[in-house]
Symmetry: C2
Subunit: 427 residues, 2 copies
């Protein structure tokens, strides 16, 4: 019966429910193949005699889920952050992405991206590539090689885009179909996702074509929604027939017909939020990005209250932080400013709430991911505390708080994805 059983010991902490840490000190977690069997204060007798990986005083937490980031923009982190969305795209981002026509450049950058995700403890990630099919497939290959899980999209852009980064409608659809066919069953944990950049850069014909592909191949969808007021005005101008931004995606069947992530939703009002809830849309909350591009503070409490699924996103390179731990801290921080803005009506996010968003919240997009409950895929980080510790006694929860706020990748001593220990990628 020892076959495929893995037992780990340490200070286990996770969030089976939003806002509440479950803590098991000096306890056991039993994993069979890729799934959690259970967590136990005392090891059940049936497992006696099996080898135990003892992590001592270290913390064992679920791996972090990043629901929204742009792989080709990693090289631009920390650059060009004095602009808003549309000029920032034109001045920095489109140029950076155009270089990914060159697959060997793409490979060089994407190795850094995957290494950085691995370092920061991101075990599942949803990424935008570029319009370039080959480079985007390379990214998937590298992610799979590293053992990480995720969805990756070849980006679609056939209007309002610079001539060096635009496709014809037909080419865009054809390439996307090729991309899907080539990658749909290629890797166990890395899958394709339909990725219209955003409404301004996709014609109705393209959006309809992508919706057909999503349905035909049962592939999820990701895009951007209501990030910036100028962007929203542009969408309104392009689609005066739609009552709001979300309705455009809805009209073209890219809004929940397959599982769908929408990044940002900073300016989504009650009506738009209702549409999101009705269509089971996932929101990728990207507070670093929303600060850097002066987009604003997304109404996350309101969305949670509406029953909308929320996860966290780094949104590199509009967001400069890859670490989802740091994104949690920022989500809490901006929620406090939102709390003040709403005259203390929209309660701020607590740390266990943000932790939930970063693990089980976003993880549910991948199925049973982001928790240590029975049947969940075992994604985990083992966290030591390098130089953080002090001579005061701290609880497991306090130690996790401290890691979130002031820890970094040097504190993560091991990573697991779907039951598999993932070592530093050897690129």
């Amino acid at each position: 019966m020892s076959d495929n059983i893995m037992i780990m010991k340490g200070n286990i902490i996770f969030t089976p429910t939003m806002g509440q840490f479950k803590v098991l000190e000096n306890s056991y977690i039993v994993v069979k193949k890729k799934q959690v069997i259970g967590t136990y204060g005392e090891l059940p007798s049936e497992y006696n005699g099996l080898p135990i990986t003892d992590y001592g005083d270290h913390l064992i937490v679920p791996g972090f889920v990043d629901l929204h980031s742009h792989a080709p923009q990693f090289v631009n982190r920390g650059l060009g952050l004095d602009l808003e969305l549309l000029p920032w795209l034109k001045k920095y981002t489109f140029f950076a992405e155009a270089r990914f026509e060159d697959v060997s450049y793409a490979e060089e950058v994407y190795k850094q991206v995957v290494l950085e995700l691995w370092q920061q403890g991101t075990t599942r990630v949803v990424l935008f590539g570029t319009i370039h099919t080959e480079a985007t497939m390379k990214l998937m290959e590298l992610l799979a090689q590293a053992g990480l899980g995720g969805c990756v999209g070849k980006v679609n852009m056939d209007r309002n885009s610079p001539e060096f980064l635009i496709e014809t409608t037909e080419q865009s659809i054809d390439d996307t179909e090729t991309f899907i066919k080539n990658t749909l069953d290629k890797y166990e944990r890395v899958k394709p996702i339909i990725t219209p950049r955003f409404v301004p850069s996709c014609t109705p014909e393209l959006m309809m074509g992508l919706a057909r592909l999503a349905k035909k191949y049962q592939v999820p969808i990701q895009s951007h929604l209501s990030e910036n007021l100028d962007e929203i005005a542009l969408v309104k101008k392009l689609h005066p027939e739609c009552c709001n931004y979300a309705s455009v995606y809805q009209k073209f069947e890219l809004f929940g017909q397959q599982p769908t992530i929408m990044a940002h939703c900073v300016h989504s009002d009650e009506l738009e939020q209702k549409l999101m809830e009705e269509n089971s849309i996932y929101v990728a909350h990207c507070p670093y990005s929303n600060n850097n591009l002066s987009s604003g503070i997304a109404p996350i409490r309101s969305m949670i209250n509406q029953g909308i699924a929320v996860g966290l996103g780094s949104d590199v390179s509009a967001g400069h932080e890859v670490s989802i731990a740091k994104v949690m801290a920022m989500a809490v921080q901006v929620s406090k400013l939102k709390w003040l803005d709403t005259k203390k009506e929209d309660r701020f996010l607590t740390i266990p709430e943000a932790f939930y968003l970063a693990t089980k919240g976003g993880g549910s997009f991948f199925g049973k991911v982001g928790s240590f409950e029975e049947g969940y895929e075992f994604d985990a980080l083992i966290i030591a505390e390098r130089s953080l510790a002090d001579s005061n006694q701290r609880s497991v929860e306090e130690r996790l708080n401290r890691f979130i706020y002031i820890g970094d990748e040097r504190d993560i001593v091991a990573r697991y994805v779907a039951g598999e220990k993932i070592d530093r990628p050897e690129f």
Copy 2:
């Protein structure tokens, strides 16, 4: 003539004026004793033949100035951040500070504090200690031993404080005088500063006594101002005779009679700002802290427009980040939210503006500190770019931006304070 001359070569970048980087690529900086003689694209012939420290492609920037932090709270970083100011003080901070009655505990923690400041590139710092004279003198000794510069205050508290962290008025004044006498001329770059915690914890008698000491010994002053609405309401209740919070300090001559730093000033209105400007008050802007304790966003643009001197502060442990580079990034980020809040009236801080605040802005509190202009004390950081660099060509300014946003202490390869190279403290 080579006596006491030091020549360094590298990519020099600093902000002689607010908001404008001065960049000298592959250039020279000549330092005599502790002061900068000049920066040069070509080395003047008079220095020919003297040894040059060549930092190659590295950046040479002014050292960072932290105008406000609490040394005893370093062990609490990342803890207890789900509360506002007054309950946070009661539940976490006062207990942490009470331990500093024990000088050996203080020494252990303060060694970590000084090491962390050194690591993060903070070359000048203004610190709160605790009410304990001996522990606070130990902190000064350790700072001086490490070669850092700064002002350190023994904290005063004689009302509205827990019984385990309160003094009598007389004792508080006597201890402060002892503290000043013992430290005023003891170290070249580490000096005492008068430190009433804030109005709620200091009686009028104590404030008057401290003002007398400030005048008698010509010692600067630091405290907190208008951080939180409940705090402001409490001050109003304690001092109904004063029209605002600042007026209380003004009334008791702790508001610019000697050089004065006031931390936060989140809720300072036009009238209070006017009083600050008239009294040449320095504002320590602490955006991490103001987010974490839900204090709000300080009106920094408005203060700058009024001609008020502003520097940056980490405000550990209400702020969890020691790195002033990260504080710069956060100052920029929250200023963008303020920009939106003010309907784009209060322009957001640009990166060269935040850099100015973190160097020459705060540095001016110490005299000629924070720039590489002639006559400035040579405080500098040498910044390499560990793993940050990519294969794209980046300008010196872009590389500095990248360090600010995504670099960390591992990128700082050397530190200088007042012309002296400061190695890792050997505690």
